[in-house]
Symmetry: C2
Subunit: 244 residues, 2 copies
């Protein structure tokens, strides 16, 4: 199943605000990560967590595990990816969320993977980063401090994309036959309303072709344009009768 | 300047929670979007907005424009990209945030671009979507309701990436000369501690090569391993003297 991120877990180390825990749970639910772990949370205010989690993600709040020790919390995981706002001096190369997501998906469902996030004020210290197999940094402007739940969202979003959910939803477009039928119909309408210069009958059609050719028209839209042409032709035909 | 997203603006239509406005401002500041517009916000609670924006993004809160009418708010923009949680029945093809970001960056700095987000409970209605030139949908699991500020973050993040900020930060690795010097040193140490079977002197070195070859070693790490080898060789040399 391409939607399966069941081997992933979001681990928050010393989160300070219950709102961020709740918002992180909602992200996990949006992107299909089934579990969260907290290590030494400052405050476990259920009401605030559940409000931000929304009803849909309440299950993640209710089933999350709470540990006193980070090393113990990370014990069952084969890979720990740590997030850091600093780049450069770490012992490990720092990945972008996109590269990281591709790499972690490649590890396959047999490997349990923890996404580790530090506290809101300090991030992850060097001793916590030592427990990580890989590091990820979210590029920013000079203001690099991203809200904790926002960082969780970017990583979860990139994992969901890396699982193949990034395909464009595209409508079925009109065929060449439909388009060419429409251009012929438009040409007749242009002639009928005397828009077209008889010296250069293709001038308006070519311009229209350039304009509509960019639009990625669907069958229904081609029919609407042809109905308009038809009514122009009919109206002019009626007027001719009226004049007679 | 690759960091320049000065022609972008985040437009929130009828946002309900001041916390989300503040969090959206922080995202804009993280990713370099200089301005926000609100249309008919339900509550403009400065304290709550500024708390979520943090000091760094206070300027975005202080300079944001507030309108009563969406069409008027969007008046100066050449392109309006609307976000929607629904796909399919819209009149426009729906893009992923990634495709959308590439497309919007291509429009260049001369075109002012509005990223339009609907209210937390209803999103954008069809009459609001009519003002958009393009639509974007963030893929999710069946729980498609993403927090407003999280949606803002994903779009701002993708724009920042599309501007070329997604490059991996990579340390300089050790050269072949450094690596081969290390393997020779290791071989001498393996022989000295009698780990190596004289029948197959390359066995341990080949295994070590496979192990360390995956590690993307840096010069400093090669030096640490060689220091360890050197101390093993010295210690054994000393022991020999002691025995004599």
């Amino acid at each position: 199943m391409k939607s399966d991120l069941n081997n992933f877990c979001v681990v928050l180390h010393e989160p300070r605000y219950p709102e961020n825990i709740g918002a992180a749970a909602r992200c996990c639910r949006n992107m299909g990560i089934p579990q969260m772990i907290l290590v030494r949370p400052c405050r476990l205010d259920s009401e605030k967590m559940l409000k931000m989690a929304t009803h849909e993600a309440a299950n993640l709040i209710e089933t999350m595990l709470v540990f006193d020790d980070l090393e113990e919390a990370l014990g069952p995981f084969q890979h720990v990816a740590g997030t850091t706002a600093r780049t450069g001096r770490q012992r490990l190369p720092t990945h972008t969320p996109r590269d990281m997501a591709r790499k972690l998906i490649e590890l396959g469902p047999e490997n349990r993977i923890a996404l580790l996030f530090g506290s809101e004020n300090r991030g992850l210290t060097n001793s916590q980063l030592r427990l990580c197999q890989s590091l990820v940094n979210i590029a920013t402007t000079t203001f690099s401090s991203i809200n904790l739940a926002q960082s969780v969202m970017i990583l979860c979003y990139e994992l969901f994309m890396a699982k193949g959910h990034g395909e464009k939803v595209y409508p079925q477009l009109a065929t060449t036959r439909e388009l060419e039928g429409m251009y012929k119909h438009l040409k007749r309408a242009f002639i009928a309303v005397e828009l077209t210069n008889p010296q250069n009958p293709e001038y308006w059609v070519d311009n229209t072709r350039r304009l509509l050719g960019r639009q990625e028209l669907r069958s229904k839209e081609v029919k609407i344009i042809r109905s308009f042409c038809q009514q122009i032709l009919r109206a002019i035909e009626n007027k001719k009768y009226f004049r007679q």
